[in-house]
Symmetry: C2
Subunit: 436 residues, 2 copies
Amino acid sequence: MSAELLIAHAKQLVTLAGPARPRTGEEMRTLGIIEDGAALVRDVEIIASGPTSEIEPMADARALRIDARNKVVMPGFVDAHTHPVFTGTREDEYEMRSAGLTYQEIAQRGGGILSTVRKTRRATEEELFEMALPRVRWMLEHGTTTIEAKSGYGLTVEDELKILRVIRRLDRETPLELVPTFLGAHEIPDEYRGSPRSIGSREDYIKLVIEEMLPRVASERLAEYADIFCESHVFTVEEARSVLERAKSLGLGIRFHADQLSCGGGAHLAAELEASTADHLEWTDEEGIESLRRAAVMPVLLPGAVFNLGLTRYAPARAMIEAGLAVVLATDFNPGSSPTPSMQMILSIACAQMRMTPAEAVTAATINAAYSLNRGARLGSLEAGKQADIVIFDAADYRQIPYLFGINHASVVIKSGRIVVDRRAGPHSVTESQIQ
Amino acid sequence: MSAELLIAHAKQLVTLAGPARPRTGEEMRTLGIIEDGAALVRDVEIIASGPTSEIEPMADARALRIDARNKVVMPGFVDAHTHPVFTGTREDEYEMRSAGLTYQEIAQRGGGILSTVRKTRRATEEELFEMALPRVRWMLEHGTTTIEAKSGYGLTVEDELKILRVIRRLDRETPLELVPTFLGAHEIPDEYRGSPRSIGSREDYIKLVIEEMLPRVASERLAEYADIFCESHVFTVEEARSVLERAKSLGLGIRFHADQLSCGGGAHLAAELEASTADHLEWTDEEGIESLRRAAVMPVLLPGAVFNLGLTRYAPARAMIEAGLAVVLATDFNPGSSPTPSMQMILSIACAQMRMTPAEAVTAATINAAYSLNRGARLGSLEAGKQADIVIFDAADYRQIPYLFGINHASVVIKSGRIVVDRRAGPHSVTESQIQ
């Protein structure tokens, strides 16, 4: 017998119903909101959504019912750019930045990505899995039901595969859905940097990525996408092209870090390779935007990193939306530049600092993000036939989610038709008598 | 029989122990952290804090015990600048700002503070109390145990008194401690703005504040402090001086909005009047800082408003700390410019964007904030004799509280010795069987 779940009387059922493709321009401001709305779920799927008066009579008498009066109901957030598998937090570097050091200076002093790599290499698969679990819980608790997850803190064949296996295990053993991306070209590891103890040159490392890592990742089906950190002090455009072309020839999709700290031609390369996404793009100029538009590359904007690094130059979101790009927002969750697991926080930064409207930000964080991960047909909206990934927010208007910032509005989180987080009871407060 | 509570084995007991005065310079970076620390509480008071090995033997056998292993224990946040009593949220204006309108332009179109005033006047005392309750809950849940709370959305004698009575009732009937501030000079209300339906001029309104409101507030003991919005488009320095001098003569303390949107001499006026605090100060220059230093005025910095209004000019926190000012951080919680109830969020903005160190931010949000409210002898540190306002954070290092941003790290909140929030059980997740 199949299980039914009816969510009824939502103040706003934010359906994101619309064309079956990424949303651009005015479409990004069209959320398909139904007042007093309802969604009917059977097993893992939404079988109907619309006004409560129409949907409620369709429900089985034994359906589990959730009254969403005075609540906003939306699709679960899809976080299209995260680095969730690593060892060790980096609050020491956070403190160093407040003392005036830049992200690049900290990297030059042995901090940054490579400090996480050194620790992550020493951890077992089991340890990495255990450490990632609270991060998965944070994401779910804040309304994220699907994430893209990158490797990139291993930088040896075995350590990269280890991280990708942890990502696969998190996908199978937790309610969160993870889309794996191979990021072996996240940085040049210590042992390929020309020190006396080097085992090779930077060219040797790139060769390792192309000739050993990528084929292993592809043959073991451990990733759907390949990524590279294309930036002047990391990998050049030429290096990125050779890595990504190889990835493409092996059947992997392409999404990569471009133009984060300087305008280095990353956007153009993304267009040339017809990448699914180009990520960051803080320094992308008008020509870059035009290249992305022509090739229909989706920009994944990561304002959490800009905010947290103490910078003020955000990606030109308004120019991108006006140019007709299907903008995506993501957390960039990682222990260095952007340690937030909350898409709600990202919406707040996007609206306050990038001048995205709340509606554009919601579109960028749900349906567009789903399309950027090739899952737009299954995720990202509350329409019949879609997977039942649904969040009930303790808010009377969807705009309050970014507006009342720094707090978690998610009350109930449903993944594939199953309630996986339920905060309706609130925190437990004991009475005075209990401590006497 | 007296009740005892023992919090033991804290990874970091952040005591803020130190001189019995506001902390400046290097003192702001000295948190008095005890590893494997404990605090013993009897009734409403901390009777001892120190290493667990010393404190634990002092506890009564029947004491309630909380194991704080792997947790950070700190004094409750003191939020020294909030506007928590009002009707109606303003997400519509939030959306307008993302469409490019400035805060001032929205005010000129009938939005801003006066739109909240119009709605708040129509509400009863009971309604305002009920609407403020979830805000109080948010604050407590995020680790704030004391707030300063302003009137200022009434702007008639009766409506201002109504708000101050709500503040008094919140103080008496919820676990949160509220310090009331009279802000009758928050804006010039509609009926004194020279329209055909005006009942008076702006001078008449200022006269009303000085001759009727202030004496009523003082005689009914409804406020400890008086405030005014001193800013070119609101109240001039001369108007502020006359209002604040009257307040002072009536025995009220002085803390006021200065130099938020332009450098208008607010800091100098604060020094001249020997105000307890000058708040905002985004545009204060070196001379202003020097005036504040000489008069020992404490700057209350409100980076939430800067962030949320999409601005990038924060108050010069580093210059203030280097000049020896006892900096305070606060949320500025209000429905327009800064709708966040979370001091943790404010710490994150202060560290990332203002380059305060995590230690300076913690000092600014606890002991210094307590001194700014004349409560430094009772609140703001975990020392014997202090009131037991204590927060247990789900973090292994206090720096993680601002670093892992956009989420709530507070796990247990204790006010006056009583557990008022307990999130240790986490959100309740139902099992699959419950929806079948």
